[in-house]
Symmetry: C2
Subunit: 273 residues, 2 copies
């Protein structure tokens, strides 16, 4: 099964475009879990259990795992083991290096951890991305337009009259021989999202920036989806994980995830129904 097929199936199975970002912040994990041997793992498991029928994907930002040392590596493995098989898993590491080193990175993300897809930084060009797209059943989301303020510093500079990120997208289209490339496009920039979707009508878009980063949900659905109202992967992290800081965190996370899924689906009905 190609990566595109896997993603489409996952979205249809639960009728959802929602992705939950599993980025456990030690200081925000509810007290009731902090005495456990591995609070981050326990937290992730409870969040997964509470939301797995509402999402198409889970995204793990590796920064949150590697920063807790050797145990973090294991927490990634064990978190992935708790995610139902049919769902997409995204290793958000924003990696990329010379080929020799990128191959090591892709080995970790694709073969060892076995993420369905990884995020990749395009700055170093083709040979830095290639190791992540050589397995046809594994995808790579290339950072095109990120959701942070610094995205303005370089991604929008004009090259031959078009923003630099469009050149990255043109390269991504050219490299997409196995139909396993997607793009990261922040929800905080609806005009960019619209432009990107017009350039790649069918490519999966991983869209961060909803929730804590205050992206526009209606525009995200309207401009982020493919013509069938699919292939947008809308990531929400903190607004779901920390919907409550108390012992009811999992229940409240479910309520928040359900609300996001339903609002997203209402917009899908409106724009693609």
């Amino acid at each position: 099964m190609t990566f595109y097929q896997k993603l489409r199936l996952a979205q249809r199975k639960n009728d959802t475009l929602l992705c939950v970002g599993l980025d456990p912040e030690p200081s925000r994990i509810p007290r009731s879990l902090r005495r456990r041997g591995n609070p981050a793992l326990e937290f992730n498991r409870r969040i997964i259990e509470a939301t797995e029928d509402l999402v198409c994907a889970y995204k793990l930002n590796i920064s949150f795992y590697e920063s807790s040392g050797a145990r973090g590596w294991d927490t990634v493995h064990r978190t992935l083991a708790s995610i139902p098989r049919g769902l997409v898993t995204i290793g958000d590491g924003k990696r990329g290096d010379i080929r020799n080193s990128s191959e090591k990175q892709a080995g970790l993300f694709c073969d060892d951890w076995k993420f369905s897809a990884s995020t990749v930084n395009p700055w170093m060009g083709f040979d830095s991305v290639d190791p992540f797209i050589r397995r046809k059943d594994r995808g790579a989301f290339i950072l095109a337009v990120t959701s942070n303020p610094g995205s303005r510093d370089f991604q929008h500079l004009k090259v031959r009259g078009r923003p630099l990120y469009e050149h990255v997208i043109a390269a991504a289209k050219k490299w997409n021989l196995r139909r396993n490339i997607g793009l990261v496009v922040g929800a905080t920039r609806p005009a960019d999202l619209r432009r990107v979707r017009s350039l790649v009508p069918e490519m999966p878009l991983l869209i961060p920036g909803i929730g804590a980063q205050k992206g526009d949900l209606a525009a995200t659905v309207r401009f982020g989806c493919d013509p069938k109202g699919e292939m947008a992967v809308i990531n929400v992290g903190r607004a779901i994980l920390y919907a409550s800081g108390g012992a009811d965190f999992a229940e409240k996370a479910r309520t928040a995830a359900l609300a996001y899924r339903d609002r997203i689906n209402a917009y899908r009905d409106k724009y693609f129904g």
Copy 2:
């Protein structure tokens, strides 16, 4: 002590610009070490012991450590513990993310592992780099012109008549309030190196691409150094680590490192003497 001061002292102490890239490839570690509990650590220790008076810095490409799982994290720690205090240590992770996540990354590289400097990918702009430059005694080498073929894909695109990497360098100069920013510039592109040095006469340049990647050593020294013949950090990895595949690997690594240091110093005498 600022990062610039630390680097200059390390270069003067051993009269050297050489940096050894400690990127242990499991399949290339000599058989005599493979039965040890942690062959990569043992290999690194032996290489450090054999070269520590010939180098100003050691660079660890994190890809080679994280790919060996939880143990890799510990190997970074223990390798760093074997490096003499006065030398610079570079965590080559090419990280960068939205501020919230970059802070996690900088915490790992600067506070937990305690690298003197880290490599940082500029693609996501200021808030992705800032967490790495907030400690005045810790440096960041920003990827300006990398040594790989893919560096041509985006880094050289023309923006207002100048290659994109010059815009990254202009930003790096602006961000350099604590005098702790350096640039990565590949040795495989001497003309670019010359151009970069003319733009930042005094910034440290981390220069990969010598050895296995076949960069030009004379041009690297000539164009990579500051006006005093210093502040170029010339990285050699595989050509030193695997100078011999046998039990004499450490001795042969020393011979190779000595030859690099001496050739570099001969060029320093020639161009800056």
